[in-house]
Symmetry: C2
Subunit: 347 residues, 2 copies
């Protein structure tokens, strides 16, 4: 089908540029919606959108207060929805954020990523990419109730003809208590392990170790919390795309069952001012990890045009830094720190 | 003079190694104390030690509470004194810290520093270095009273025979109010400018600009505060060592006169809970700058064996992150943010 003559002069004698993946995806969504045969980009986007709303509803039922929902667009395609509940009955701050980004990776970023993805072409000046993810951080009021975090994401780069160049999944979920209730930590890990085991008997052990290594507040010689799982760069060298997507769906699906029983048990426990202050100090360490060491946060803060408020929704409402605070010998606070210095196998 | 026979076998036929600069400095201090003809290392160390104690005494007089003083040693020579006052009558947290470090710079660090110091030899595997500095951060309780910071430091590298290879001074002082009182900011800048002008009529303008550029919370598009001065890498290409030391002495000497009148005026002003909360939000931004952007903090956190509690004494006792907080139109809070988005010439 020749283009009508009126269009030919507009292309100035050059070939018409092939559409970007953002344009393709928009067209595909408009024409046929999202089905199991849609590209993974659209399926992942639909999956995280559904799950964001389901999780927001479940957390509103726990807290009794509603989330503020902000929908935002990125100028070159994509955007996101940031849901935040602040000063709630149960949560001091709760953030559930999805973002969908269509953009171009500069050459330096490509070289870095090639370490893990040999399919990336090192000789191009820039590569079109797609990234979609769902992140959650919950900071409860009660110091007996742990902070929790998860992030699940899908990344893809495109060839100049719009076909997929490289793709991978990443993610994980981890728990950060101020006071240790072994039964909570065991429940959290066991729920995640069951989700992993359904897909690969090695996943839990591998990704638990990866989590302890990643969430390390190196300058303190402590982990951020009591772990969970973390994985990145899972691509075709690991398993086929369908299997990995199924795994990510199960892992994300395990979040509510892993955390809701814990928050229900702890949200109304009595606590002292001293215990609240210890929680504030632990939140200071959370801030240190996120601002000094977290690669995701650093990537976000360095992305031109990024929505800073969505990236930093992970920070607690309040935090504290007290010079040379040392927990008392034999105290519960000391026991937590000992576990953070030497990660434990919980299941 | 031949060494006595009993020593010759111990050196195993090799030449006796020349003493490190730490060893030389220790010997020199023991033999003749510190005089105007001592090496700059020892003079700077003596200067910052005296000033630390003078400033601590002056701040104790303002606050009414005593500083906790911790003396610490580094295994390979050097050490420091960290003075912290916490939960005071005037200061929520006040830290005054000196550190003296003798160490070895690895090759990567040398290449980086060569950008500013051509005297550094790019072909050696490591270089002995000396660094001494005095840092101060004061976070007052009252939101009408500004946070203030200064740091003055001297850096030197040694040739293998112990002679000086490269040396430079760095430093600066800057003010971070939560509420803007123009007269305070003008007084602060004018006092510093007078100290600069006595040495070089160009210093204030150059170093004021450098300060605005350095203390930029890039991801927020704001400066950390209302500035002051900042300079680094001042070496023999700038002025001779004596002149630069004299300038650093004047700049540091300007600190108490630049800040004491401000804290006296603001420490007992009435304020509301809302104003206290705004201060807490501004402290969150202070934490963001220090943990994400400050080169000194990053250098410290990455130094093996560094005393983390001394490095992070700069963080406020309490801070707050509130999702999408926007100051009201026409409010004092908005005026501050406008000034942080577009630095002002105060004198």
């Amino acid at each position: 089908d020749k283009p009508p003559p009126s269009q030919t002069p507009a292309s100035g004698g050059l070939q018409l540029e092939s559409p970007t993946i953002a344009e393709r995806d928009n067209l595909s969504k408009r024409e046929s919606g999202v089905t199991p045969s849609s590209p993974m980009r659209l399926r992942m986007e639909a999956f995280i959108k559904e799950n964001q709303q389901e999780i927001v509803r479940a957390l509103e039922a726990v807290d009794g207060k509603r989330f503020q929902q902000d929908k935002w667009d990125r100028p070159n395609g994509g955007g996101g929805i940031t849901c935040v509940l602040q000063d709630g009955n149960v949560f001091e701050k709760a953030g559930v954020n999805i973002s969908v980004v269509y953009g171009a990776l500069p050459r330096a970023a490509i070289s870095k990523m090639r370490a893990n993805h040999k399919a990336l072409d090192p000789d191009v000046e820039s590569l079109e990419f797609f990234a979609a993810g769902l992140s959650l951080v919950l900071h409860p009021n009660n110091p007996m109730a742990p902070t929790v975090h998860f992030n699940y994401r899908y990344f893809e780069t495109a060839n100049t003809d719009g076909s997929t160049n490289a793709w991978w999944f990443g993610g994980g979920s981890d728990l950060t208590p101020s006071y240790l209730f072994d039964e909570d930590v065991i429940h959290f890990h066991r729920t995640i392990k069951d989700a992993c085991d359904a897909h690969d008997k090695d996943y839990y052990a591998r990704f638990k170790k990866w989590c302890d290594e990643y969430f390390s507040v190196k300058h303190r010689g402590e982990t951020r919390g009591v772990g969970g799982i973390f994985f990145d760069d899972l691509d075709e060298t690991e398993k086929d795309q369908e299997s990995l997507f199924a795994f990510v769906q199960s892992a994300l699906g395990a979040f509510l069952p892993s955390y809701l029983p814990i928050i229900q048990k702890r949200k109304d426990m009595p606590y002292t001012d001293r215990e609240k202050q210890w929680q504030q100090l632990r939140r200071g360490r959370y801030v240190e990890f996120n601002l000094v060491h977290d690669r995701g946060t650093a990537f976000g803060l360095n992305t031109p045009g990024a929505r800073i408020e969505s990236i930093l929704m992970s920070l607690p409402l309040t935090a504290r830094w007290q010079y040379q605070h040392e927990p008392d010998k034999g105290s519960r606070e000391e026991r937590l720190v000992n576990v953070l210095k030497k990660p434990v196998d919980w299941v």
